[in-house]
């Protein structure tokens, strides 16, 4: 079998008639962690939304293959049941829906889809106990409504906790680090690192290099102007930290020594 978990080819997508992604290519294999960096508004969350299946994001060209299947044909819940998980940049507050109840319902929906028996509440509590500890999630948070009144850090930890329980094959973490203090960041990173495995792929979207000190990626991509402008190994993140993103606007990819240019990227001709 093809070891590519995700293949994005020439993806063009628009929101409300506004073109955001302009020919994005990305390939992620099982076992790998990829980081996607890029300035605000470059389309990182748009890419995550298209993969997760959020309404209102129109794919105008290109394709997304997940384990060899056309992902764009699937409903969001089918994608989830097939193993895709999005940790939201802005987790949604859901008044009146108990956090524990919600997560058990979600897990059971996925288990049912896979033909596995559903878990009763005792079995579920047993399953989550250890995972709660790792992410320092209190009983109180589990008894409250989903994300309602959670602090920024609590919301992000809750996302990673959900990921730990749902055990996806492909996880996309959209700016899970933003708004976290260093302790919370370390907790989240530990939660993520524990889930790295040979049959799981992760895409870590971040604005800052800081998170990548704790979650060391196999590949780093720079998203700019709706496409991958440059790709490299973990060192690329460091260089971005030093140089910033301003060089992207000038199309001067050569300023970043050692970076490969994205296919058809702005600075392709100038590749070192």
């Amino acid at each position: 079998m093809d070891k590519a978990m995700l293949k994005v080819r020439n993806l063009h997508a628009s929101v409300e008639g506004k073109q955001i992604l302009n020919g994005l290519d990305l390939e992620v294999n099982a076992g790998e962690v990829h980081a996607i960096m890029g300035p605000n508004g470059s389309g990182k969350s748009t890419l995550a939304s298209v993969i997760a299946g959020r309404e209102g994001y129109e794919v105008t060209d290109g394709q997304v293959l997940y384990r060899g299947r056309d992902l764009l044909e699937l409903e969001p819940e089918e994608r989830a049941c097939e193993g895709i998980f999005l940790a939201f940049q802005y987790p949604v507050e859901i008044p009146g829906v108990n956090n524990t109840y919600f997560l058990r319902a979600a897990l059971n929906a996925q288990r049912k889809y896979r033909g596995e028996p559903e878990l009763d509440s005792m079995q579920f509590l047993k399953l989550i106990r250890g995972k709660l500890e790792i992410l320092h999630i209190s009983d109180d948070l589990m008894h409250r409504a989903v994300n309602e009144g959670f602090s920024g850090g609590e919301k992000k930890r809750n996302e990673i906790f959900q990921m730990a329980v749902l055990e996806p094959a492909l996880a996309i973490l959209d700016e899970t680090d933003s708004g976290l203090d260093i302790d919370a960041l370390k907790l989240v990173a530990e939660g993520v690192n524990r889930q790295r495995s040979p049959d799981r792929a992760m895409i870590v979207v971040t604005h800052y290099q800081r998170l990548l000190e704790y979650i060391v990626p196999d590949r780093v991509h720079v998203l700019s102007g709706g496409r991958i402008a440059a790709s490299g190994d973990a060192d690329l993140a460091l260089k971005l930290e030093e140089e910033g993103y301003s060089w992207l606007a000038e199309g001067g990819i050569q300023a970043l020594e050692g970076a490969e240019t994205g296919s058809g990227g702005a600075g392709a001709a100038a590749g070192a």
Binding site: A52, G53, R54, E55, E75, P76, E77, R79, A80, C81, F85, L86, F88, P91, V92, E93, I94, P95, G96, V97, F102, L103, A105, A106, L107, A109, Q110, Y113, A145, V146, Q162, L166
Partner: protein
Amino acid sequence: MTGLTEQWSDALAAAPQEPAPAWLRELRENAVGQFRAAGLPHRKVEAWKYTPMTVFDGLRLTAAEPVPAPVADLPPPLCESSVVVDIRDGALGEVPADLPQGLTVLPLATALERFEERLKPLFEAVELRGATRAFAALNTALATQGLVVHVARDAAGGSAAGRLLLRWGLSAGAAATMGQFRLFVLLDDGARLELVEQYLGSGEAPGDGAAGLNVLCQAELGAGARLSHTRVQAETEQAVLLTSTMLEQARDSRFVYRGFDLGAGLARHELTTRLTGPGAEADIAGAWLLDGRRHVDNHVSVEHLAPGCASEQFFRGVLGGRSRGVFNGRALIQAGADGSSVRQSNANLLLSPLAEMDTKPELEIYADEVEASHGATVGQLDEAAVFYLRSRGLTDGAARRMLTAAFCRAVTDRVADPILAERIGGLLDAAMPSGEQL
């Protein structure tokens, strides 16, 4: 006179006079006259603007005859209860004789003698004039069937687990009658009663014809008395249900109402309470979940007539299909009713573009130092929340049901008894509108 008003007036004139005290016979004759004069309400009558009067076509007026109870095929009781009374098509079943200390439950005809002094002024207090009062006039004219519940001073209407359950049954089909029933709840000073009413169909398959019921309830709460009233209505679409509850609350009394309308073709509930003594409280909450072409009207009116009273009206509505809901919530703080607290809130979810909700809060404040808040909203499910749930594996339908149930939980959480709350939650889940259009 419209056709139906004429037809019903004739039926009223032809109805046999039941044996009753002279004052009541006179009152009934007066009611017949008032109905004939004013007729049924129509669209131009503000309080009945949205109520589809055509559903009454084809319903005949009758004075129901008592039927022997228990009726085996009524749906099972919604909750454990020390006293169950069945009322089928407006006819009172057997009233249990063995009752907890302090509680009296009697058929109206029997009670008229024993409680005449208290019932006469209550009968006389009901306004019968005008088209808005047409159904009160009908009820007064025809309701020989009725029930009187009395709880003696400082007694609880039952033991700790004791409550009085009224189990209503409406059989659709050939009869096509508009039954009339009268209910009195008399709580002496310090008395307590938990009253649960269930309207869960007759237990038989719904027929083609409509079945109607017009219930008029009057309750008197003495000083410090407590009445908890839970009403769960999940009738078949053939049911036409008019219920009107009028309370008078003395000093420091407390009324707690939890009402759920999940069914009926037309259900119209009028609830009026007058807080006549200082420190009286009315905690009124309810929900409706409507699908198909159902229509539910809730008209709630709280009158603060003494200082230091508190009231809350808290209602949530969910409407799918082509259903229609109406909420009219009125709170009046009369001059002199200083230091009152009044809260009112009605939020609604429309699950279908063809569903409709009309909500109208009315606050009239003539007193000083009043703490007041009110709000009414009509909206849709939060699509961001729907996507969040779907992104975790729940189907679109399951996500919407989960969010809708959570919306209603704000009301079921206010049902004090957890077992009853859970049963009602189950009925709500079963009645959850699909959002699909019919």
